[in-house]
Amino acid sequence: MEPALPHRMTRLARKLQFSLNGVIIAIPFYWLLIFFLVPFVIIFKISVAESLIASPPFSPLFDIAHNGALSVHLVFDNYAYLWEDSLYIKTYVNSIRISTISTVLCLLLGYPIAYAIVRSAPTTRFVLLMLIILPFWTSFLLRIYAWMGLLADQGTINNILIYLGLINRPIRLMYSEFAVHIGIVYSYLPFMILPLYANMEKLDHTIHEAAADLGARPFTTFLTVTLPLTIPGITAGSLLVFIPATGEFVIPDLLGGGNVLMIGRVLYNEFNANHDWPVASAVAIVLLLVLVIPMMLYQHIQSKETNG
């Protein structure tokens, strides 16, 4: 018989396996490369181009000169402009401040909720989780819109307060930082609760009993055992709120109006209203730099979580 045949077949099988793996990796890999990574290179490229009144409204980065030499124009004017115009720096600082406060509010509200869910009976727990997730499946935009109806000068909250006689003239709730905080906490609360829940659920419940058995009162148990052990959940949840909230556009636009400066809105306007693409790109790159550390931290936690 042919002794080489089985050998050849296993080699073929290995090759097939190899090519199957290759296909599995290649398709999503190249998709993301083209539609996710390359665009960032382009943003960076445009952020160092000169703005022109043309279409597209920026100077080309590479130029083949008449003599055939490749010349590269790198213009850092856009970044200098961001630095010189105090509006941009103020807006970055303000965005970070607002999203930090909102993240803390989210944590203060989300932590006890997540803890209450973990502590309830299995069926209740399931129903509560569904209730927390459900708003996430409805339209984000419409949920912000709901708050417009509540917070407006003639809105539900003012109407109720006037009806109760607590105030006699509507108070300003809309178009304020307060409204933006409410919007962020409202929209991102599930993103805080779910990682916290996942973290708490994995904790061995007997360690709380052990702490009580060793003489710790409930509050001490919380401080010395529960809190330190839920730091991964706190970090993950906070980052999941903080990062998108910093670049948020819809919430400051609809609830904050012109009174609340946030970078997402400035970027959107720079792009859509002013048509200054190089400056918009520079704004985006700086925002990315601001968020790169929190994003890498999140990535790090996630990979630690999945790799044991």
């Binding site: 009993e209 058995d213 060793l214 003489g215 009162r217």
Partner: protein
């Protein structure tokens, strides 16, 4: 057992000794399910007491009630004369070693052991000293800076023990203390636990489902089933004088022969087996009417096996054929099929090395089983 008046080793026999722990009519219901059903229990100072039973029998619930982690539906618990039924876990003079050990994963060994002392506001120097002492006792002195995940199962078990003992509790509760260890380590640790208990004189209450473990460790054992105690007593009593068929078959192996009483002479009953042509006389203190259904329990090691019939005073004999032989090293177990079709188990120690000479009988051989009436127990339920 003699009638000695010195009960220092067996305080439960002395009516004048006050119990250290008293459980009085404790019931615990979870919804419609009764986990612990009206149990009473007295445990004395310095005992190593075991609660033994299959999973779901209520033993862990009872332990958790003692720890204060579960509130009883009704009943009371006293420790050292104090009613602690309403005390929360963190105020009770008892500590628990959890089945999962429940070590704090974010603290190292020393911090774990020191945790309870810190809660009591003990001065720092004393904490350091007591933690050091305790770690020496459990032979973990070099491990104080390790985190729980850097320890083996046996080391974790010892940290959990040290953490519970360092507070010098009046009672130490141990929930399946050895269940997570492999067999060899379990046997070593049993003796280690007994050494530590003797050294410190702390009262231990151990929950276990492992009857061998309970037998080795305990001064007394309470066997639980469906939330109630079936029998409470020292290991020898449970093994040699079981109250009923449940205990007889739960602790060790047993051969049970159904029969009925014929006549009674004081405490000596004459009984007949139902399926075998055999009559014998067995002592039994309870009153039974003539003709009552009873069971005769004989432990496998109390039966001897021979290839020829033997005769003797009070010797009971049955004939059968060898159905199966199991060799387990120290013992061989013979499964003998009697004429009525029952299987009777007989164990025989393997006293010499060569395999051929140990076999009293081979498969399908006709054999005779013998035991003395004094080695059998009459059970009425």
């Amino acid at each position: 057992m003699s009638d000695t008046l010195d009960h220092s080793d067996r305080p439960w026999l002395d009516p004048d000794t006050a119990p250290f722990i008293k459980v009085d009519g404790i019931t615990k219901k979870f919804g419609g399910f009764t986990a612990v059903d009206q149990v009473d229990l007295e445990i004395f100072r310095g005992e190593l007491f075991s609660l033994l039973g299959a999973s779901g029998c209520g033993k862990t619930t009872l332990l958790r009630i003692l720890a204060g982690l579960e509130t009883p539906t009704s009943g009371k618990v006293w420790i050292d004369g104090v009613d602690i039924t309403q005390l929360p876990a963190y105020e009770r003079p008892v500590n628990m070693m959890f089945q999962s050990y429940a070590l704090f994963p974010h603290m190292n060994v020393a911090q774990n052991v020191a945790y309870g002392l810190k809660r009591d506001g003990i001065p720092k120097e004393e904490i350091v000293q007591r933690v050091g002492q305790m770690l020496t006792m459990v032979e973990l002195s070099g491990f104080s800076k390790r985190k729980p995940h850097q320890l083996s199962g046996g080391e974790r078990q010892r940290v959990a023990l040290a953490r519970a003992l360092v507070k010098r509790p009046k009672v130490l509760l141990l929930d399946e203390p050895l269940a997570a260890l492999d067999k060899r380590l379990r046997e070593q640790t049993q003796f280690e636990l007994m050494r530590i208990q003797e050294q410190l004189g702390v009262t231990f209450i151990v929950v276990t489902h492992d009857q061998e473990e309970a037998m080795t460790l305990s001064t007394r054992i309470a066997v639980m089933n469906e939330g109630r105690f079936i029998q409470i007593g020292p290991p020898t009593e449970l093994y040699e004088n079981p109250d009923n068929r449940f205990i007889a078959s739960f602790i060790g192996s047993v051969n049970l022969f159904a029969g009925h009483t014929l006549t009674r002479n004081n405490d000596l009953y004459t009984i007949a087996l139902n399926k075998h042509d055999l009559q014998c006389q067995i002592e039994h203190t309870q009153h039974l009417d003539n003709g009552s259904p009873i069971w005769v329990a004989v432990r496998p090691e109390k039966i001897t096996l021979s290839t020829t019939p033997l005769a003797g005073e009070g010797l009971n004999q049955l004939m059968g054929t060898v159905d199966d032989i199991a060799y387990t090293g120290n013992l061989s177990t013979y499964r003998v099929k009697t004429q009525s079709g029952d299987i009777v188990e007989v164990t025989h120690p393997n006293q010499s090395r060569s395999r051929g000479s140990q076999l009293i009988a081979d498969w399908d051989d006709t054999v005779y089983l013998h035991w003395t009436s004094a080695d059998s127990v009459l059970l009425s339920e």
